[in-house]
Amino acid sequence: MGYVGQRVKRTEDPRLIKGLAHYVDDIKLPDTLHVAFVRSQYAHARINSIDTSAARSAPGVVAVYTGKDVAKIGPVPCASALPELKVPDYRVLAQDKVLFVGHPIAAVVATDRYAARDALDLITVDYEDLTPVVDVEEAAAGGTVIHEKFGDNIAYKLTAGEGDIDAALAGSDHVITQKILHRRLAPIAMEPRGVLARYFPGEGELTVWSSTQIPHLLRTQLALMIGIAENKLRVITPEVGGGFGSKLNVYAEEALLGWISMQLARPAKWIETRRENIQATIHGRGQVGYIDIGCNNDGKLTGLRYNVFADLGAYHQLLTPAIPTLTGLMLSGAYRIPAIQINVTGCFTNKMATDAYRGAGRPEATYVVERALDLVAAELGMDPAEVRRKNFPGADEFPFHTATGLEYDSGNYEAALDKAQSIIGYSKLRDEQKAARAEGRIVGVGISTYVEICALGPSQAMPAGGWESATVRIEPTGKVTVMTGASPHGQGQETSFAQIAADELGVDLNDVTVIHGDTAIVQYGIGTFGSRATAVGGTAVLVALQKLKEKAAKIAAHTLKCDAAGLTFANGCYSAPTSRAAAAAGESEPVYPVGEAPGGALPEPKTEGKTELTIQEIALAAHVAKDLPPDTEPGLSATYFFEPKNFTFPFGTHIVSVEIDRDTGDVNFLRYVAVDDCGKVINPMLVDGQIHGGIVQSLGQAMFEEVVYDDQGQLVTGTLMDYAVPRASQVPWMELDRTETPSPVNPLGVKGVGEAGTIGATPAIVGAVVDALAPFGVKHLDMPIKPENIWRIINGN
């Protein structure tokens, strides 16, 4: 046996590659109504009146709702608890004002999607323009106030960190300051959001299918918003086409669709268009910051201060205000920095809310720290790799306490750096760079030695529980069912959790089915985000399996009539002391392979006279229950809720080399080497996939992507024609390798890998371009580094 650690092909894939999977819009219910939304065309305006009369009498239209109709639906929730946080009343449809382009104003319900869309054009909204607040620093400074009752646009201020930062910087040989921009990004899950709701008035039951990362948290919040008992509400996440944090949320449309279905007693469906997705699904990043980094002549860091204005948008979504706090936590990076301080000013602006987008506050921190290290290297004339090496904590210094208040679980940062440097041939690369520069070529090398925080997280540090749950069950026919509270949406845990279960039980992988994302079937869970599903959810599966085996062993000892202490378990078989050798050689077989089960009643367990039994035979005995040990419950299942004691801290080194085309400013990636350490690996193929995808999202951020609002708050990048998601031809070949430092936080030793690429890659890419342009006097460039910007630098324009 031994599936864990192997490159196991995904069990999810057959349905997906054949086009037979079911995303929300693929679920068809008879009599379904279709919903479309009138959304604000203005960033900031008062609504004088809304005329829906023509729409109401349009063909196919069943109902039209505006803000006053839905006043009974509770506000869109914010789960962040920060001191003195201002939380605006975020109604599911705009009341008297609209506060961002895309703000929903009216919902049209019609018999098909074309009729609903047609009717939108028949609704007249009389707007009165108000001055929009677009720039985050101007928002903080005063002027127009978005939420009048608050008096200003500052949602909260927060200072965090340890050590005397003023003294540390004052006592440094050098202090370097730099303004730094993290543009707003659009997550762009390839499947936009979608909701289907069906209410059965007789049973009083509402079922909501939603493309979400958090089915159980969504159920709780929707029950509160709509005012339905939580145990009458079922949330199902069918196939989910990517999330990247954008579906780690509770949205107005989810509550509205449930409510509409209850009003009309018919199924109601809404599928987000891409334009709506860029307007009204959360954005990521959105910080304007100022770095003060202190260092001494020997390259040792002394202190880091980061003053940041966080562009929160007009309202808080689920975690909006909390994201910059994650930035603050990770400002120590992979380094020993004696004093660290973050000062956050969270501001309202007339834009869509920012919230968790892949990395969620950590890419910002890593970018700040890694850019700061490059600035130190440039200031001191040191190699950027050496400055990093000088400031690493040693491998023997873990758990490592940071001046941001964290305890890093385990790490060996130098080993990852060594490996990456060796793979890319770092010193030779620097020699080649010198030679190339002498020839007039524009070449650069960028490096990032990141650390990130994963496995979110201990419940103390989370707004709504940081544990995860699992139930495992062996059915009478020997099939193994794993139910996880995590909610994978592309990460492949149907496979990796089956690997864990198959190994632990000694059964065939194909006997295991992993079920997730249905609140009526699966015990309460938290969901998939923050690179937590395997580290927290996988651990819950493992411990549940171990609990199940305790019971199975008890039944086995009873049935085999031997002492429990003498019983052995190997390859899916329990053996009495006399037959250990036989068991070791044996292979577990399902009791009844699929298709061979006899029709009719379950057979009697064939246990008489046996000296060994498979765990699947024991499952049958446990269900038939004719001869169980005293005080033993029938059945064979176990549930476990795993509460982690700490976060985990994956790390790694990314090195990238680039050459810039002098005539066009295009960046050509020569090599991309990534050495990542995510602890123990369950399935290396899945880990590689996560790293690849993360790096390319990071590359998009570094090179192309930016949600642009103009000075009137108008969204300029409203389609994929304008919002530049990386395409296959723009992406380099990535050379991946690993080091493996197990996490002591969980028995699997895993750390998490979902966001590593997105966190580690951006500063390496920006660093490489800055390094290439160093001969032109460049020390820093803001993202996205467009070819046009580079061309202007090269041409002094």
Binding site: K9, P14, L16, M190, E239, I271, L686, T719, A728
Partner: protein, 154 residues
């Protein structure tokens, strides 16, 4: 005013009356219930809706069903041959060419077309050939390997 159309989809002849403005992708998904073809952008930029029309890959989100009158359409559901996966489908499974799977049907159709035109493409030619299809999960590397796998297999 509805129009009558006849389209052969995955080898099955269909005749329906449809609105002239009905998009081909909605005809496939909502009328024929072939939901493997996805909609990702409605503007022909992401390629999730790619199908074959008379053997050529087209983006079915920016084409009317009436324009397919008389044509032969192949969707992802029709790509496998008597239950045997198409080499590109096999490549995607073997090489982990998909994560969330949403772009995958369109990506596979485009990959198949690419190999129809060039049976032994370089990695660069594959990347160029896939430019009309967006994937947000994989970073494309495993997709390139999946198409290379299929090229060797076919």
């Amino acid at each position: 005013m509805k129009r009558a159309i006849s389209v052969t989809v995955n080898g099955v002849a269909h005749s329906q009356e449809v609105e002239p403005r009905l998009l081909l992708v909605h005809y496939l998904r909502d009328v024929l219930n072939l939901t493997g073809t996805h909609v990702g952008c409605e503007t022909s930029l992401c390629g999730a809706c790619t199908v074959f029309l008379d053997g050529q890959a087209v983006k079915s989100c920016t084409m009317f069903a009436v324009q397919a009158d008389g044509a032969t359409v192949t969707t992802i559901e029709g790509l496998a041959n008597n239950g045997d996966l198409h080499p590109v489908q096999e490549g995607f499974w073997e090489c982990h060419g998909l994560q969330c799977g949403y772009c995958t049907p369109g990506m596979i159709m485009t990959g198949a077309q690419l190999l129809n035109r060039n049976s032994n493409p370089t990695a660069e030619e594959i990347r160029h050939g896939l430019e009309g299809n967006l994937c947000r999960c994989t970073g494309y590397q495993h997709i390139v390997e999946a198409v290379q796998y299929a090229a060797k297999k076919a």
